[in-house]
């Protein structure tokens, strides 16, 4: 719990720093732009609290750094740790390259395996349900891979570890954002109630 509150504080500090930077850089913003800015800053703050030790945070940073408009904020928020972003993007690129090769070979493998699979199912009816269960698992892990940032390049055991971490920090993020939203809303409500009688 203590650890959690510490994380929340850290995240809060970084996030507000990022928001400040955003506001100082561009004053007039659309509603949607503002929303995007808030989301990106919170994402970056969340990723930076993890010290880029995990893969998903690296992937998040790398994705954020792809957009040119975010680069200044990234640099500001991470400060001297801009090397982290470079490293993250390079690792991501390397993994992507590896993965593309894998995919190519996988496609060929799939084609060659399809015929065998059909035969096997025909021959062993008992195995069919086993195969179906495996397929279900595979589909779900695929979905999970798409959800977790950078999950495409992970194996299953490391994917689950990353998901654990990701969920933990998402919770922190949601908690902090919710409390901020409540706070602002509360203030607004108070104001409105005070103002209403006039």
């Amino acid at each position: 719990m203590q650890n959690n509150s510490l994380r929340k504080k850290e995240f809060m500090g970084k996030w507000l720093k990022g928001l400040q930077k955003y506001n100082s850089s561009s004053k007039d913003m659309n509603f949607l732009e503002r929303k995007k800015a808030i989301k990106i800053t919170s994402d970056i703050a969340m990723a930076s609290t993890r010290k880029a030790g995990t893969f998903w945070s690296q992937a998040l940073l790398a994705n954020a750094s792809n957009d040119d408009s975010n680069k200044t904020i990234l640099e500001h928020m991470l400060g001297t740790n801009s090397k982290i972003v470079e490293r993250a993007s390079t690792t991501l690129l390397g993994l992507a390259n590896n993965n593309s090769k894998k995919i190519r070979s996988k496609k060929i493998l799939k084609k060659s395996c399809m015929a065998k699979r059909v035969k096997r199912i025909d021959s062993h009816v008992g195995l069919a349900c086993c195969v179906i269960a495996k397929k279900l698992m595979k589909k779900r892990t695929q979905v999970l891979k798409n959800l977790v940032p950078g999950g495409k390049y992970l194996k299953k055991d490391s994917l689950i570890r990353e998901t654990l971490d990701y969920i933990a920090s998402l919770r922190v993020q949601v908690d902090v954002m919710r409390s901020l939203a409540y706070a602002t809303e509360h203030l607004h409500c108070q104001q409105s109630l005070v103002v209403k009688p006039q």
């Binding site: 055991d157 689950i160 602002t184 509360h186 203030l187 607004h188 108070q190 409105s192």
Partner: protein
């Protein structure tokens, strides 16, 4: 002879998985144990010679024939090993067992066969029944770095392999080759982490089966991500007001919003939700978020509002978080919200 047996089995399995180092080690250990067994043989021979008078020799030899059949079937290599190791002691045998034929003598000496008979059931158990895989894995050490547990002095050479082993036990009927052991270790790792996830994700401990758990996890992650989206959306609408508050502009703006509510195209239930706000206020006042306000306020400078904002704010205020948690299909709500944003 027990040592001899184990060394011979090791040698046997090394023949199937040959690697130079292992073979050398096996050979050394076998030589060592042969020496030991030699000494044992001699001592045992003397004791048995004392115990059994020479008259029983004929009966003994018959027994030995049976043992020969038994040993020859299952443990061809090991029994031949025994015979080879005990060839040196054969001259004792020849002197004592003078009645038996030379062919029988060569293969089955009294001590050896008795010993072998005693050890065989145990070794058979070792092979097939539930064991710490350790003993067998020692023999398989060639490839499996992960599962080797080194107990005896035989495997001094594999000191570097000691450092990174994972203890895996094979139960009855489970395969003990290195690939399936590694696979089992991996699966165990995954299931451990899945258990951790189960604790972390609410409502996941009711679900059984990995697929269901994964479903739950996916849902949870998705909901968290959508919550982040939604909260950022909400904050983006709330922030400007906060700034007005700072500049004391809110006093003029807010009544205008309230006046606009009935006229705007808000659905009835949404309007009801707006009325719900005073209740919510009490809840909010207890929340710890108040501490946050000073930070939030001085950070954000005032912003110019766009024309589409009032309606959106009405939407966002009404769909407060408490309600959303109660609604089962708040994802769809959020989607409709997004749509409304896009259309406006």
């Amino acid at each position: 002879m027990l040592n001899c047996m184990s060394s011979s089995t090791e040698n046997n399995s090394n023949n199937t998985n040959p690697s130079v180092l292992e073979r050398q080690r096996a050979i050394y250990s076998r030589l060592y144990h042969q020496q030991q067994s030699m000494q044992n043989n001699v001592s045992n021979l003397h004791t048995i010679m004392h115990q059994f008078p020479l008259q029983i020799h004929d009966q003994k030899i018959e027994h030995f024939h049976n043992f020969a059949a038994f040993g020859g079937e299952n443990y061809g290599i090991s029994s031949s090993e025994i015979s080879r190791s005990s060839l040196e002691t054969e001259h004792f045998m020849v002197s004592t067992v003078s009645n038996s034929s030379t062919a029988n003598q060569r293969k089955f000496e009294p001590q050896d066969s008795i010993r072998a008979r005693k050890e065989k059931p145990i070794s058979a158990k070792k092979r097939k029944a539930e064991v710490d895989v350790e003993e067998e894995l020692k023999a398989e050490a060639g490839e499996s770095q992960s599962e080797i547990t080194t107990k005896s002095g035989i495997s001094k050479a594999s000191g570097d392999e000691k450092s990174d082993y994972i203890h895996v036990r094979a139960r009855r009927g489970q395969a003990t080759d290195s690939h399936s052991l590694a696979e089992r270790a991996r699966r165990e790792k995954i299931s451990k982490k899945m258990k951790c996830l189960q604790e972390l994700v609410p409502g996941c401990n009711k679900v059984t089966g990995k697929a269901g758990m994964l479903d739950e996890i996916i849902n949870y992650v998705q909901s968290l991500q959508k919550q982040v989206e939604f909260l950022s959306l909400k904050l983006s609408t709330v922030h400007p007001r906060l700034d007005f508050n700072v500049d004391n502009l809110i006093a003029k703006e807010i009544p205008a919003y309230i006046a606009r509510f009935p006229n705007s195209t808000i659905p009835l239930d949404m309007a009801n939700l707006v009325q719900f706000q005073p209740n919510q206020l009490q809840q909010i006042s207890t929340s710890s978020g108040v501490n946050v306000i000073p930070n939030g306020t001085h950070m954000i400078p005032p912003k110019v509002e766009t024309s589409s904002l009032p309606n959106l704010e009405a939407y966002l205020d009404s769909s407060c978080y408490e309600q959303l948690q109660q609604l089962p299909n708040w994802d769809t709500d959020l989607m409709s919200l997004y749509n409304s944003v896009n259309f406006q």
